[in-house]
């Protein structure tokens, strides 16, 4: 099978299933454990009189379980897969039993069946386009009016000076942010609400606050000039301000032009799960993908969810997946959704990153120039050597130039331990100040360094 424990756990739809899966991965809970070249399966003791029939089709992978959970893979599947990793030799070689065989045959038939055309697709597409155009017009009107009011508020504040906000209560920001939310400028509101967190956070906090104000001001300027910019730039501004396009609408809009659709093999390089920075009701998941054929093409699969909901995407970090991605319209396409994913996947075998820091920063300047409203910058570097100095982690490139790297949970020491002082390849997010490491390629091994703060 060749999976690792971490990869198996990454299939779990949420942490709870992963945890329950681990507790199901006990040999004594399983009455039957069998496998063949195509699949493996087992019978797991449950609370009922009959065991749950659980199977995994390696041609995928695809999962089956007779338990009532309708969010695959369930804990039984995760448990079974973990057992297959840990106790492969305990799985007896066997032809598929009937229940497994029926499922595999159906799957084969389904995969071989030509896709039926979507009835009245063109109607759906036209409806989506019309709806989107209408929403853009409506939103823009509300945004313009709200942001112009906010511009007056912001200018007053700059006249008074940032030092004057130091003692402002949280409600000062909350009230102003609420007006931005009413103006459909939700993302601008989030930026504003994050400012109290910056105040006095470091000795130069006022610089950080000014940068936030600058970013919001840039949005205001963008919205005011939106009729004069190209369509991709228009969407950069709209999306950065707070306009949203649902996944389905995104797919439908791209049926007309496949400009933003890319069918490729994608290396899944990193994963972040964290609470939303200001909205306690939300949590965020970000996956970073990189095209294996186009050196500079990254994709950010960004998913905000309510805290009690599960994330839709569950991608195996460190693997290469075959998928069709649809990007959001942009002057520098980066955020995307997965439209189709072929079940096969393979191991990552190398990192294709920038050879030195200058090359990376050149790419950053291109990205900032193309879309100054973006705030996420992927960074993939080859041949950088980690170095620790007074608990601060740095990367040094072949030109003896350095950048600071976030050193959380002993990551700096782990990178140092793995590298032994030799160059490594590293992937992470560049914040403008430091690199947040998410994975590394060291000595022919993929090292996952996910952020999981949920």
């Amino acid at each position: 099978m060749g999976w690792t424990t971490e990869q198996v756990l990454s299939f779990a739809p949420d942490d709870g299933t992963a945890k329950r899966g681990k507790s199901t991965a006990k040999l004594n809970k399983w009455q039957v454990l069998e496998k063949n070249d195509r699949a493996f399966w087992g019978e797991c003791k449950g609370s009922g009189s009959r065991p749950y029939l659980t199977g995994v089709d390696l041609n995928g992978p695809a999962f089956k379980c007779s338990c009532p959970v309708r969010k695959p893979p369930c804990k039984h599947v995760i448990g079974l897969m973990l057992l297959a990793v840990e106790f492969d030799k305990d799985f007896a070689e066997s032809p598929s039993p009937n229940w497994m065989n029926d499922w595999l045959v159906k799957r084969d038939e389904r995969l071989a069946r030509p896709k039926a055309p979507i009835p009245e697709a063109s109607v759906l597409i036209q409806k989506a386009i019309d709806g989107e155009n209408r929403r853009v017009i409506n939103n823009l009107e509300i945004m313009k009016s709200g942001l112009n009011d906010f511009e007056i508020w912001l200018k007053d504040l700059i006249r008074q000076g940032i030092a004057s906000v130091e003692k402002e209560s949280y409600s000062f920001w909350k009230d102003a942010a609420a007006r931005l939310v009413d103006s459909k400028a939700r993302n601008a509101a989030y930026r504003l609400e994050s400012i109290p967190l910056l105040i006095n956070a470091n000795p130069n906090w006022f610089e950080d606050v000014l940068k936030e104000f600058a970013d919001i001001y840039l949005l205001i300027q963008g919205i005011n000039r939106i009729e004069k910019v190209s369509k991709p730039t228009k969407y950069d501004i709209l999306l950065a301000t707070g306009h949203t396009i649902s996944k389905n609408n995104l797919f439908l809009l791209n049926e007309v032009t496949d400009k933003y659709t890319f069918n490729d093999q994608w290396a899944v390089l990193g994963k972040i799960q964290m609470p939303h920075s200001v909205n306690n009701n939300l949590k965020i998941q970000r996956y970073w993908l990189k095209s294996t054929t186009n050196e500079d093409q990254f994709a950010l699969i960004y998913e905000p969810k309510f805290v009690n909901d599960g994330f839709d995407y569950n991608l195996p970090v460190g693997m290469i997946i075959q998928a069709e991605l649809v990007y959001y319209p942009s002057n520098f396409p980066q955020r995307a959704h997965i439209k189709k994913q072929v079940p096969e996947m393979s191991y990552l075998s190398e990192y294709q990153g920038h050879g030195d820091l200058q090359a990376f920063f050149k790419a950053i300047s291109t990205q900032v120039a193309a879309n100054p409203w973006t705030s996420e910058f992927p960074c993939l570097l080859n041949e950088v050597t980690p170095m620790m100095q007074e608990d601060q982690l740095f990367l040094i490139d072949k030109n003896n130039e350095t950048i600071p790297v976030q050193n959380r949970d002993l990551i700096g020491w782990k990178l140092l331990a793995l590298s032994g002082g030799m160059p490594i390849a590293l992937f992470g997010e560049w914040t403008g100040r430091q690199l947040v490491p998410l994975s590394a390629w060291i000595g022919g091994r993929f090292i996952d360094m996910p952020i999981k703060n949920l």
Partner: protein, 502 residues
């Protein structure tokens, strides 16, 4: 002042109060910003432009520090992939109590830890001195290279060169002293004697603690001098160490003090509480103010004296065997004081015969009375030998029908978790629990056994797993309330078995 700083300054104090410098204005004009417009607008536009330019034009910094040479090649073989998986499970918290055993197994095989776990293991072991010797053998060249760069992990470095005694850092000196105290105790004592008068009190106390390793009568003279030290902490620690030497002058002096106070008359123990405590007695570590045990200051002084007397001296003194002496204690009005003091003395002198006697006595008395209410058995538990642990525990379990009460000394003993359980002991414990589960009337009893199960899991021999796995009443209703703990017990054993076989 550069342009960005100028913009930030004006933004900070407010564009009504502050003004951009002429130089900044010229810069902004060149970039297309109208500097004659509203002052706030100029600052905002300038902030946008400059913050984006700063981001887009970020320049990495030239490294000026000297890089460490790459780590040398490893000479030891890395542990197996299975072992790596086991270690990952331990580090993720699933079986974290199995770490010392894992390290021990690796050291026995002469293998090294994989690179990626070195920081976690080194960090985890920072405050666990018992693991340092083991770690030293299994971190490999990479580990040593890593340690050389992190001062917090340099506890592991062992510099054994005696020349460095006077020049090393405190951590190095402690490690050096510990090493030589184990290898050549008198040489280590010589090190201390040479520099003692120059050491500060905190170092002195830490060094004295190391003298406990291979403590012998050869240390007496040195420690006697410390009884006259200026600082009370030093005097107290020296007295404590001397009281561990059965042939020391301190013990003799203490015995001479206590002998006339404890006598047998008419088959009963007669006790005189000490009235005055002179300077010499205080010098030997008796605290005149302390309330050592319930019963007042005088009783406490007697207790402190008795608590260092080697129990064999009591046998000679009373001319009675341990069991009889304990019985005499029991009948005395001061039974709590006498029993506790002798228990502590037994622990200090690590006397097996008396440990056995005290446990046997306790097990006997525990049938009618919960002694743990007024006697603290922990000092004895901490020092009990492995053989005696198993012997006493088996004795306690075999004399019991059903489960032992929570306050029973054997329950305290089994919860210790510092000794290996012989398979017969595990078996006896399991059979007892299974028997009780088979006939249990109430499901809420026996919770204290759940804690013991966890200890048993880490200290029983996992090679007997298949034997321990059998006989659990899985079909009974009570199983539901015990399944988690018993399956946990079996899982840990299975994990440890796999760890040994990896």
């Amino acid at each position: 002042m550069n342009t960005w700083n100028d913009i930030v300054k004006v933004a900070l104090i407010g564009s009504e109060r502050g003004q951009l410098s002429e130089g900044t204005k010229i810069q902004l004009q060149k970039l297309g910003i109208d500097t004659n417009s509203d002052s706030a607008e100029i600052v905002l536009k300038a902030s946008v432009l400059w913050s984006k330019m700063k981001h887009a034009g970020y320049q990495p910094v030239k490294n000026t520090s000297v890089l460490f040479d790459p780590a040398p090649k490893e000479t030891q073989t890395i542990c197996s992939l299975k072992s790596v998986k086991h270690l990952m499970q331990i580090l993720s918290g699933s079986y974290k109590d199995a770490l010392p055993e894992f390290l021990q197994l690796l050291a026995e095989k002469g293998q090294r830890l994989p690179e990626e776990v070195l920081p976690d293991v080194l960090e985890m072991a920072k405050n666990k001195q018992k693991q340092w010797d083991l770690l030293r053998d299994i971190i490999g060249e990479r580990g040593e290279w890593l340690v050389s760069q992190n001062p917090e992990w340099q506890y592991i470095i062992l510099d054994t060169d005696l020349q460095n005694w006077e020049t090393g850092t405190k951590q190095e000196r402690l490690a050096l002293l510990r090493y030589w105290r184990k290898k050549a105790p008198e040489q280590a004592l010589g090190l201390l004697q040479n520099t003692w008068k120059y050491e500060n009190i905190n170092d002195k106390l830490d060094f004295l603690k190391i003298l406990q390793i291979n403590l012998s009568i050869n240390d007496e003279l040195f420690l006697e001098k410390s009884l006259d030290a200026k600082r009370k902490e030093e005097r107290k620690l020296a007295a404590k160490l001397l009281s561990k030497l059965p042939d020391s002058q301190l013990i003799l002096r203490m015995y001479n003090r206590i002998a006339p106070l404890l006598t047998i008359q008419n088959k009963k123990l007669q006790i005189i509480l000490p009235n005055e405590i002179n300077q010499v007695t205080q010098r030997d570590g008796i605290d005149i103010q302390s309330q050592w045990i319930r019963g007042g200051v005088k009783a406490s002084r007697l207790g402190q004296m008795l608590a260092v007397i080697p129990p064999p001296l009591l046998v000679d003194h009373f001319n009675e065997p341990p069991k009889k002496i304990l019985e005499l204690y029991w009948q005395s009005d001061w039974r709590e004081l006498l029993f506790q003091a002798t228990l502590e003395a037994t622990a200090i002198h690590n006397n097996e015969l008396w440990t056995d006697a005290i446990f046997t006595f306790w097990v006997e008395k525990a049938k009618n009375e919960d002694l743990s209410d007024f006697i603290n058995i922990n000092p004895l538990l901490e020092n009990i030998s492995e053989n005696l642990f198993n012997k006493v525990a088996m004795m306690g379990l075999s004399n019991t029908n059903g489960l032992l009460e929570e306050g029973h000394p054997i329950v305290h003993l089994l919860k210790l978790g510092s000794h290996r359980w012989q398979p017969q002991l595990t078996n006896l414990f399991i059979v007892g629990l299974q028997g009780w589960m088979d006939n249990a009337q109430s499901y809420w009893a026996g919770w204290h056994y759940k804690g013991i199960l966890k200890k048993a899991a880490y200290h029983s021999d996992p090679m007997f797993y298949h034997q321990f796995e059998r006989g659990w009443p899985r079909e009974k209703r009570i199983w539901g309330t015990w399944e988690k703990e018993i399956e946990g017990f079996l899982n840990i054993l299975r994990f440890r078995k796999a760890m040994m076989e990896a």
